[in-house]
């Protein structure tokens, strides 16, 4: 197990290191220059551009810049945003909260509902209900998140008038305490609903196919031969074995969660990482782009390592194969 863990950690750190260099190089290879953007198009003053270049170290070679960047990271400093003159770390932390709020709530609800429907469909295999659920799941799998978001806004906000269309809280409300929480929940409803609807098919399919897979295995036949009740076989043996793939996929989804919800956030103008990503990219705000990239790749790497460890703990065959 120790060897397995060391290998995974090594592979994860390599991925993060590669991500940092890759991201650093690709941004600087791109056409366009943040100094000219900062100075503005109307009055490009060469002296000012030179000053800004020097101030941010943009006049040095790419190699030196990369060295300086690593040095900075080593001191846990993500630098200052060009466009907002704020600490990048603060900006990211500020946005990470709202993103996790939607992503965690949505993913958890989707796992519960999706697994439940999947197990139910597997037991009713081949019936009309099973086929209907399967067809609906295909449909949601093919739906772009942003469009589903727009359609939900159309239905729930414009036609039914039940929920607000965008933002995280009512700016004019000035609610405090419990009223504030209710206000945020009301704003969260549609983005979370979009995420849930789009994620249910994954968990549904996995639960359904793994239940069917386990049911067809020999040991279930043996249990039946012993005369054990179907109910007991299902609850005690089938479910327990069938839940493993769901745990894995849930873990992988958690790892990619932050990028996964960015389109939904942008659609609902939710103040999360999605908007920050898009803004920093269009403004060529290098430190912010690099910072987001770093946070994302580290979180994905950590998530994947955790999944591997959990999986290896549950299923010893994986360890041995390695």
């Amino acid at each position: 197990m120790k060897k397995f863990l060391a290998k995974r950690l090594g592979s994860g750190s390599l991925a993060v290191l590669f991500s940092i260099i890759f991201n650093f190089v690709i941004i600087r290879l791109a056409p366009g220059d943040p100094a000219t953007l900062l100075v503005g198009k109307d009055n490009p003053n060469p002296e000012m551009i030179a000053m800004i270049r020097e101030q941010y170290g943009l006049d040095k070679s790419m190699f030196e810049q990369l060295g300086a960047y690593f040095n900075q990271l080593f001191h846990l400093d993500l630098g200052y945003s060009y466009a907002n003159s704020r600490d990048v770390w603060d900006m990211i932390v500020e946005r990470l909260g709202p993103t996790l709020m939607i992503a965690l709530t949505g993913t958890l609800i989707a796992v519960l509902i999706g697994t439940f429907i999947g197990v139910y469909a597997a037991r009713k295999k081949g019936t009309f209900i099973d086929q209907a659920i399967c067809s609906i799941s295909y449909l949601f799998d093919s739906t772009p998140s942003f469009w589903l978001g727009l359609m939900l806004i159309l239905l729930f906000s414009s036609i039914l008038g039940l929920f607000p269309t965008s933002g995280m809280y009512n700016l004019r409300g000035n609610y405090t305490g419990f009223a504030h929480i209710m206000d945020v929940i009301q704003h969260m409803f549609l983005p979370v609903l979009t995420l849930v609807l789009l994620n249910i098919p994954y968990y549904f399919r996995i639960a359904r196919s793994s239940v069917l897979q386990v049911m067809s295995e020999d040991f279930i036949m043996t249990l039946r031969a012993t005369g054990m009740s179907e109910k007991k076989i299902f609850n005690k043996y089938v479910l327990r074995n069938a839940i493993i793939p769901t745990i894995t996929v849930f873990g992988i989804n958690l790892a990619y969660m932050v990028t996964g919800v960015s389109m939904i956030e942008i659609t609902f103008a939710w103040p999360g990482m999605g908007r920050l990503m898009l803004d920093s990219i269009t403004k060529r705000d290098y430190p912010v782009i690099s910072g987001i990239y770093l946070v994302l790749s580290i979180s994905v790497a950590i998530g994947m390592i955790i999944v591997d460890i959990v999986y290896a703990t549950i299923d010893p065959r994986i360890r041995i194969e390695e």
Binding site: I26, I27, P144, W147, L278, T282, S297
Partner: protein, 281 residues
Amino acid sequence: MNKAKFMAFLGRLRHNKQMMIGCILLGFLILIAIFGPSFAPYNPKLLQDDTLASPNATYLLGTDNLGRDVFSMILYGVRTSLQIGFIAAMISAAIGIIVGGIAGFFGGIIDKILNEIMNIFMMLPTFFLILLVVALFGSNMTNVMIVIGVTSWVSNARLMRAQAISLKERTFVKSAITMGESKWSILIHHIIPNGIFPIIAQTTMNISGAILTEAGLSFLGLGDPNVFSLGQIINNGKMYMPRCWWISTFSGVVVVLIVLTFFLIGDGLNRVLSPKMDANK
């Protein structure tokens, strides 16, 4: 594959409902992609006086804010989506087959290195990377296709690697090695042609993924501004929601249909490939 086996394969294909629906839809899409522009009642670039007209007899699906006919725009948009989906998925398949084939067949240190590279690519935050490249290097169709292809090959490579590893042990490959055929020649003539089927199924699924990604990019305003794309139409219509709902709604329905088509075909192919999975259905 001999004739009897092939007939059995066709038989399974015919009994596969999803596959049938998918193929019928695909037929329609290809017709639209080829002949769509000649069906279009108006030139989609034509700015007419009726701006934001709701769907009626003259404008089947209404018009947008500039008075362009939504139906005609969608017909052109389907072509763009299919083109981007196909080419991006082909790029991803080509890289995947080569990398996976080499890793699996050559084995040893080459396999270790390539496998590590695959792991790294698996961990990259793909959507952010695509966003970054398209935003920084310009949003034309070529860039969009290449970047989607280059970031989505890992699943193909993994499949091809597994295929190569299992094919390597088969008698016909071993006899080719004994007869002194070069490794590259075996890879190209025996391993890849015999192991390609799962990659075809995966590539069909990847077309869906690429079309969704392109729609997402266009929705963020990062699509190619010179062509009509479904994502762009949705994005444009968003500003006139909810009163002028038809612009975004209809174009979105078409995206869902296109993605669904390839999804059904890909899933159907997978089922035909592994009858065990089909039996579990």
